[in-house]
Symmetry: none
Subunit: 252 residues, 2 copies
DNA sequence: ATCGTTATCCCCATTTCTTGGTATAGCGTC
DNA sequence: GACGCTATACCAAGAAATGGGGATAACGAT
């Protein structure tokens, strides 16, 4: 029974200490569950140094080559859907999670040509700390083992937890802190106001607003307002609710 | 068999449209899985209204009263642990996830006095959009059904997904559609590139990039790049994963 | 065959942002 | 009292975005 296997396998994961061992174990486990391929991707913000990135997979070389050389990561619909789902999703459901462009469909088609048919992807996020996905995939002529997706999701979660442990990420990085005024200015800019408009709204000089934004950018070590807004939003300093709700009525 | 039950129950969740129906269903399901209590908490940032907060539970009145009146949410070790775990965790494992203070232990003890013994909590996050937890708990004299925690985690995830659907609702059509090129330009701008830099990256003229962005703004009926980025991100056209490197550019 | 969409390119005028400075004042801490 | 942080305000130069005009070509669908 697959669920029991997943449980036992999960227990064995706790002894794993290197990425290579993890990869081997995952390759075995994914096939045992009825999949042809797996891919684990983890991005964690570690203490002071750079961020940790881990990518383990047994995708066909062809696909990996196409994916990296054509910079497909930037247009991967699977990755975008990961920001919309609490739990694992089969790729046929992506269209329900996000709007699919023609290019998106084409990308999935190219994947099929390279040996990646249908897939099941598990997204996991720790705000401001880590983001990971685990994908199980089957060859184009085969179908997903729907009965065992629960076991697969469990296993994927454990794999990501293990990967997080391996990547040596225990301490959270200190988030940049903005002053109240800085955040306030940032929020109005995120709402689409210019610095001058924000100044009127807050009842201060436009130069001051510019100064606050300047300081905020310095703290986040970015050099444009777009990056500042997205970084602050990623860290939870501002949210879509803050940005959209003030508009009074529904955007859609 | 519990896993099959969880699957069937999960399917039934998709028809639920109100929080009350969800609560009734979850009460039944949690008991069927061998738990005494459940609690679902969801903070979602939707376009409708303000931020949505949903709290469904069948905890003893006493505990609910203590929890809210003493504002324990701010110092709840379970909540803190939720920021550290990719998957569900039993409360006995909290100490491995976060440092436990005396006050933390005391809080769990108070919970026991109110009828909440051991628990299993499932944390789920969608950066910038939603944060939710689902907890299964048993009475102080009973122990968690460890064999069915996999089914429980699956069920909890579906419940959170359902809650998100209920709170956000309204996913009609009318999503502005961007062409692939427009989206591509938008993505690079969201990554902090200027139009000129984007032009070099894409191998086209800067004027063309500006034109694509112009068209994209018109389709979304906004007049600045900030609003365009946020709107596109809200719709899932681009995601945090797309923005924060996967190409070697590190956000510190 | 025409229409709509997409992608590409160009010009111009104006506004806004970004970066580099400087400066005063209040507030709390050591 | 000195120090650090915050909020406020100003100046100047250059880079970038925005909004208003254009145009050509390829492609697919009606």
């Amino acid at each position: 029974m697959r669920v029991r296997f997943a449980q036992e396998f999960g227990a064995s994961l706790f002894d794993i200490e290197t990425a290579n061992d993890l990869k081997d174990a995952l390759k075995q486990a994914s096939q045992r569950l009825g999949f042809d391929h797996f891919a684990l991707s983890l991005e964690a913000r570690t203490s002071d140094d750079a961020d940790t990135q881990m990518l383990l997979h047994d995708y066909p070389d062809e696909w990996a080559k196409v994916y990296t050389s054509f910079d497909l990561a930037g247009r991967d619909p699977v990755r975008r859907a990961c920001d919309k789902a609490f739990g694992g999703f089969t790729w046929e459901r992506i269209g329900q999670l996000i709007p699919m462009t023609r290019g998106d469909r084409q990308m999935l088609a190219v994947g099929k040509e390279c040996g990646i048919g249908d897939g099941f992807t598990i997204p996991r996020h720790l705000p401001g700390m880590a983001r990971g996905t685990f994908t199980f995939a089957v060859a184009p002529d085969r179908s997903l083992p729907h009965r065992w997706l629960i076991a697969a999701e469990y296993l994927g979660t454990l794999a990501l937890t293990s990967a997080l442990k391996i990547s040596g990420m225990s301490r959270p990085v200190a988030l940049p802190r903005l002053s109240d005024r800085q955040r306030e200015c940032l929020l109005w800019v995120a709402r689409g106001k210019t610095a001058a408009e924000t100044a009127i709204i807050l009842g201060i000089s436009a130069e001051t607003v510019i100064q606050h934004l300047k300081m905020a950018r310095e703290r986040y070590e970015v050099h444009c307002s777009q990056s500042l807004i997205l970084a602050a939003m990623f860290d939870g300093l501002i949210g879509f609710g803050d940005v959209f709700k003030w508009q009074g009525h529904v955007r859609r």
